[in-house]
Amino acid sequence: MASYLSTLRNDVARWRAAGLIDARTGEALLRDAEASHGRGISFGSVLSVLAAVLVGAALLLFVAANWEAFPRMARVALIFVGILVGYVGGAALKARGHAGLGEALWLLAAVAFGAGIALVAQMYQLSGDEAQAVLVWCAGTALAAIALRSHPLTVGAVLLAGAWLLMTATAAGTHDQAPLSWLALAAVLWAVSLWTDSSPSRHLLLLSAMVFAWLVYVDSDSLRAPAILAAVSVAAFALGIWRPDESDRILRLDGALPVHGLLGFIAGMSAIQFEYYDEPEFVYVAIAVFAGVVAALVLAGRSGRMLRWLAYAAFVYELGFVYIALIGTMLDTASFFLAAGLVLALVAVVITRIERRMAAAAAAAGGRP
């Protein structure tokens, strides 16, 4: 795709020089071609991003190895050159139509920035607060994502924010609490993802939010966070079912709001189940989860294969949970395998029937998937 765009760019320049088209037409043609061909993932761009990640990892290891052959200012200069060449070179490549390669160079520059932070820590023997370093790295990457309107850099910033969340929440002793400031950071990154048109970032942010609720639950030993997560997830699911177009226009999740709603519901309810593990209330929570999964299947099973398979997986997961909590003590191993086999066979039959009916309905609706 990129090669087509660069060919077209040369052609347009030639046509303009030959007087076949004026400058405005040329710009319009290129914009249209970019809009229809520049998007989507090509094999080449995936490979170049992977290459960027590998070269970036090598860069990080190179610095971490504390290589003595270079004087330290040479190492700093190397990092600075990496940042400069990465961003400006990436912009130049992108302007010439090599979008995938350009983004890969930008990722490399962002990794060089992170390596630079690690290098400074190593040069001046700094200890402690790795989380702070990751936060600075995240902020720098987010800034680059905004300025360059880059989707991969947005994903990078979201992943770094997640790393910061985990490091802060699990840091030994100092402040072992899930940082509420992550919520503010996530809100900013959500806005950035709308600007850079990066829906994978939004999916990752929602997944991180579920992890966040779990961390708060583990730290505080209070069911407030999982309860809020489950309630918000149910609301999100309902919104995604009854107002699919409006909710997607605002949240822009590729119509996956019900899937996130179901996943968040399971994540929240699992925490509640862990809490009531040995209590009689466990049964009611389990019934609520089963009811929720079946309701999701009935209400939204039509909306996509992803949601259906998530619901099936959740069903089996919940069965396992209930077995370990309740029935495990009553059955011996042989009867467990028998019961598990029968139940799984039943589940398989149900899944097959639902999937067949979905396929038939899709065919009747005119071949829409």
Binding site: M123, Q125, G140, A147
Partner: protein, 196 residues
């Protein structure tokens, strides 16, 4: 301005901002090294089994564990704020007769209220956690607990640390931030941190 020129300028701006952040960190550390007040601390092995982690050694100091009395009567009893800032500790250091500086007072959140004697230095650290009021000591980190080594030299230094007395010259900024400046084996200088 065409779209591609705008993109290149944006890329240049991002690169300069990130390089600026890194330069600012380097200059900040160099400033502490140049202008900070010097104290000398005695190095103590942290955990004999796990001194070496990757390519650096972990170090403890004679002020890494502060006796509870240094915090005064009220210092220990109040519960810390849940945020990380609630664990910030300032320790007042005074030069001892043997050249090693000792902690003479400590306080949470701000330097000790008592007027310092001439020559005293207040160093900023973070309590690893806040022990209850009955605790007899508080474990504090100053951000100087790590010493990076050239590849392959870790084990040798680690072995030496257990046998001999090492000292660390530390530069302390006006706000109390500590920065490793020079590493001594007895009186012999084995490492000196360059400004840049």
């Amino acid at each position: 301005m065409t779209a591609s020129r705008r993109l290149t300028l944006a890329a240049l701006a991002v690169a300069l901002v990130q390089i600026g952040i890194l330069s600012w960190m380097i200059v900040g550390r160099a400033t502490i090294l140049r202008d900070g007040r010097e104290v000398v601390l005695e190095v103590q092995p942290v955990d004999p089994r796990d001194l070496l982690r990757g390519d650096y050694v972990r170090l403890g100091y004679n002020v890494s564990s502060l006796p509870a009395e240094l915090f005064g009567e009220a210092g220990m009893t109040t519960e810390p704020e849940p945020l990380a800032d609630g664990l910030v500790v300032f320790v007042r250091l005074r030069a001892g007769a043997d050249g090693v500086w000792q902690a003479v007072a400590a306080a949470r959140g701000a330097p000790p209220p008592a007027a310092p004697q001439p020559g005293d230095v207040d160093m900023r650290g973070t309590a690893d956690y806040w022990p209850g009021p009955s605790a007899r000591a508080v474990s504090v980190s100053y951000g100087i607990e790590r010493f990076y080594l050239p590849e392959g030299q870790g084990r040798a230094i680690e072995a030496d640390l257990r046998e001999r007395r090492f000292r660390m010259k530390v530069a302390v900024a006006g706000d109390g931030t500590a920065q490793i400046k020079a590493f001594y084996d007895g009186d012999a200088l084995i490492y000196s941190e360059p400004l840049y």
